[in-house]
């Protein structure tokens, strides 16, 4: 970003960026533009995914879902947003009014700030922070502050239950999440989001998820922890509607209520993007690894524009697949109980995450002793490392896929279900 802006100041405006006094202004304008873009992206994505989730849930539950507003009900989220903006912003008499008003902003800010470092494609991210992952882990903690404040400030027992549950849950699950991201960090040797992506390859057997069994297990530990941090089923205890009405947002209405849900649905993108970055190769395009390196070696400006778009498309595709998995889980699983949630975290996930970190460290050391430092580009089948990666990909990636397909086929055959999109 900085290089790009410097180039614009130098070539288009004809000033030396180091000495021109208005360089700061250009920087600021560009940052504001990016901020508006990112906030819009987060909000629009949350809106669209709210429509999409209801449609998917409808299909899963043999009903239709919203299909009145716009084609396939697509504009439903705009109608909902409009309704929520126009609704009265009700503030309970007995609530702590300042904190009550403040809480949604903590949630929405904590969610939106993660977009500062999230990658969207090749060289596409607001900043290229060298501690990007660390930044994400710390900034998402703001969300739980907002939830806790909303639970307390509402002065409602249901909201208090929700807030306390959220605090217990999110704080607990940040520990296995924080531990297990050390696995890809050690494998890549960097905290920078783009560096972690570059350390993987475009092909699935070069993704961190399939490079080692530890990466495979770490993916699921992080996935579970992020589900819990995002309050998604089966960890939706803080807003369990059958137990504590609506949890921390029981007393909220109008736009403040919408902020909570904006953050929750937008968080689907954040968690999926983090998982994609750390374990699924990020924006790397399959079979173009060596081509990309050729372009880069030829000097700056040699990477074609279509590659930027293609990498963004690949990243979005992987992320959206994960988003759909999360939606699928939500509409399949029951909710776990508070004590089960705690024991899952402290008795299983934390020790497993710890073990994975140790095993990964040992593995990295041993392979360093045998084969020396890692090559710059992902290894192919010409190297023993590549063979190990590929073998594990076959076991951890292809076998579960085949088993899943066979089971799905059996289930469909047994009940005579059929795909019917006629009433879409």
């Amino acid at each position: 970003m900085k290089e790009l802006l410097d180039k614009i100041v130098l070539e288009r405006l004809g000033h030396d960026p180091a000495t021109w006094p208005l360089t700061q202004g250009v920087y600021l304008a560009a940052m504001l533009l990016v901020a508006v873009l990112l906030v819009t992206f987060g909000a629009v994505f949350a809106g669209i995914v709210s429509w999409w989730e209801r449609r998917v849930a409808g299909r899963m539950q043999s009903r239709i879902g919203p299909n009145r507003v716009g084609p396939g009900g697509f504009l439903q989220w705009i109608a909902d947003a409009l309704k929520l903006i126009l609704k009265e912003d009700l503030i309970p008499d007995e609530s702590d009014k300042v904190l009550f008003r403040l809480a949604p902003y903590f949630v929405i800010v904590g969610f939106l700030l993660t977009f500062v470092v999230l990658p969207f494609g090749y060289h596409l991210s607001a900043t290229n922070m060298n501690v990007g992952l660390f930044y994400v882990v710390s900034i998402t903690a703001l969300v739980v502050v907002g939830i806790l404040i909303s639970g307390w400030a509402s002065n409602s027992k249901w909201a208090l239950f929700g807030g306390i549950r959220a605090a217990a849950q999110v704080v607990s699950y940040e520990i296995p999440a924080g531990l297990v991201i050390l696995v890809p960090i050690m494998m890549a040797g960097s905290l920078n989001m783009h560096d972690i992506i570059r350390a993987q390859g475009g092909n699935p057997w070069n993704w961190f998820m399939f490079q080692t069994p530890m990466g495979f297990a770490a993916f699921f530990v992080l996935f579970t922890s992020l589900l819990a941090e995002g309050n998604r089923t089966p960890f939706d205890l803080p807003e369990a509607e059958s137990e504590i009405v609506a949890g921390y947002n029981t007393e909220y209405s109008g736009m403040r209520f919408a902020y909570f849900f904006l953050a929750e649905w937008g968080n689907l993108w954040v968690m999926s993007a983090i998982l994609t970055t750390l374990f699924l190769g990020g924006w790397q395009v399959p079979f173009l690894d060596s081509r990309l390196r050729m372009w880069e070696a030829a000097g700056p400006g040699n990477v074609p524009a279509w590659f930027y778009l293609l990498s963004a498309g690949v990243f979005a595709l992987k992320t959206l697949i994960l988003v759909n998995v999360v939606i699928w889980i939500r509409w399949t699983f029951p909710r776990i109980r508070v004590d089960q949630m705690m024991s899952l975290c402290w008795k299983y996930l934390v020790p497993i995450a710890m073990g994975l970190v140790v095993l990964t460290a040992v593995n990295e050391l041993v392979s360093f002793q045998i084969w020396g430092p890692k090559a710059q580009e992902p290894v192919g089948l010409s190297h023993p490392r590549g063979w190990i990666h590929f073998a594990w990909f076959a076991v951890g990636g292809l076998l579960p896929l085949v088993a899943f397909a066979m089971k799905t086929r059996r289930n469909i055959a047994l009940t005579g279900d059929r795909v019917d999109l006629t009433n879409w």
């Binding site: 549950r165 089966p234 205890l237 369990a240 504590i244």
Partner: protein, 392 residues
């Protein structure tokens, strides 16, 4: 508001003081999962409940009193409202009581039609029960699956009697209408479909690990306790008490059918900590009862006799003065009893209904001690209480 007001709970004549540090939580009467207008006063220490005191009466409509001011036949539509999820049983129980009072003989075809309609209604009622139970545990998807099947039952019953919820189908002396000519093939087709659906249901939710873990070993009711509290129906059988009026004291056409009576066996499995009489048993007994009801309906369709569907009933029903009769039937929520006294007039002197949900409410306070708030929801759902049946 003073602290005292916050910590004292008055339920009827009872006064309960919450201990220091306990939170008094009013769950209901408007709460998503109290299954109707019921209130639970929960004394909680964090997530753990000290006690949950059920408070009933919000839906009391004096149905029994209404019975004293309408004619014998005129009370029949009111019985629908005793249990809106299983109206056939309330119809049948009242009809049998009045028939006993009059010494009426119900034609065999009417008895079979009663059995068929009741068993379909039992499946429909159990589907709502197990569906809402899954929903209370947080799984929303099984609920529409259950309701989809219930809609098919509603279609079948609508073809039979024109109504989908409050049927008013059983009448004193028989049933209101004979079945349409093409009804039996329709019913058979749906029964074949429903067998597969139950397998799908097991894969979808009954064997879901989280679901089993939530319910296994939760709120165990030993057989002796179940009998002491007067639990009836699936709640009683889930505790391992092998008692079913349809088999042990057959009424109507039930002596002609062969069926099993599912009892609780710790279906959740030892690994998950399942015990006889836990919430999972209560859930799974209902699933198994659906299978048995399918069997009974099939047999009734096979054996359906011809003839009249209504006995000869005098236009004005005036049973002998100061005679009384009682009926017991196995309703969806367990044994339902009707007690009717005649004073020789056109109206009953007294009508009394005894229902399963009211008895189940009584055990909740004892079971709730030490459970978590999330478990209370599962416990209420597993006992399958329905608010109008509690209060009438």
């Amino acid at each position: 508001m003073s602290l005292d007001q916050l910590t004292i709970t008055r339920v009827g004549d009872r006064v309960e003081h919450a201990d220091q540090g306990e939170m008094v939580l009013n769950m209901g009467p408007q709460h998503p999962s109290t299954h109707g207008v019921i209130n639970f006063v929960v004394h909680a220490d964090g997530e753990v409940m000290k006690r949950a005191i059920p408070q009933v009466g919000y839906l009391h409509r004096a149905i029994e009193k209404i019975g004293e001011i309408v004619t014998y036949n005129g009370f029949m539509p009111y019985t629908d409202r005793v249990d809106y999820l299983a109206a056939m049983f309330a119809n049948e129980g009242y009809a049998i009581a009045v028939e006993k009072l009059m010494g009426l003989q119900v034609p065999p075809r009417a008895q079979y039609l009663r059995a068929i309609s009741c068993e379909l209604n039992r499946i429909a009622s159990h589907l709502v029960s197990i569906g809402t139970m899954a929903m209370d545990i947080g799984a929303v998807t099984p609920f529409p699956y259950a309701l989809r099947e219930r809609e098919s039952i509603n279609d079948l019953i609508e073809a039979l009697c024109g109504a989908r919820l409050t049927y008013n189908y059983h009448r004193i002396g028989g049933v209101a209408f004979d079945m349409p000519d093409d009804w039996i093939p329709l019913c058979r087709k749906w029964l074949d479909h429903f067998d597969k659906t139950l397998d799908e249901w097991d894969r979808l939710i009954s064997r879901n690990e989280i679901f089993v873990q939530r319910l296994a070993g939760l709120a165990v009711v030993p057989a002796a306790m179940a009998i002491d509290y007067g639990l009836v129906g699936p709640n009683l059988r889930a505790s391992g008490v092998d008692f079913d009026l349809r088999r042990d004291h057959p009424y109507g056409a039930y002596a002609d059918f062969k069926f099993e009576v599912p009892i609780g066996k710790g279906y959740a499995g030892a690994r998950a900590g399942g015990k006889v009489g836990d919430s999972y048993d209560r859930f799974y007994c209902r699933v198994l009862e659906c299978r048995e009801s399918v069997r009974i309906t099939r047999q009734a369709c096979d054996k359906l006799p011809g003839g009249e569907f209504m006995a000869k009933v005098p236009k004005k029903i005036r049973p002998e003065a100061w005679s009384e009769a009682q009926s017991r039937i196995e309703a969806a929520r367990g044994e339902m009893a009707y007690y009717v006294v005649s004073d020789g007039g056109e109206r009953p002197y007294r009508v009394r209904a005894r229902t399963g949900s009211y008895l189940a409410m009584g055990i909740i306070e004892d079971l709730s001690r030490g459970l978590m708030i999330a478990d209370l929801v599962a416990l209420i759902a597993s006992l399958d209480v329905v608010a109008p049946e509690i209060d009438r």
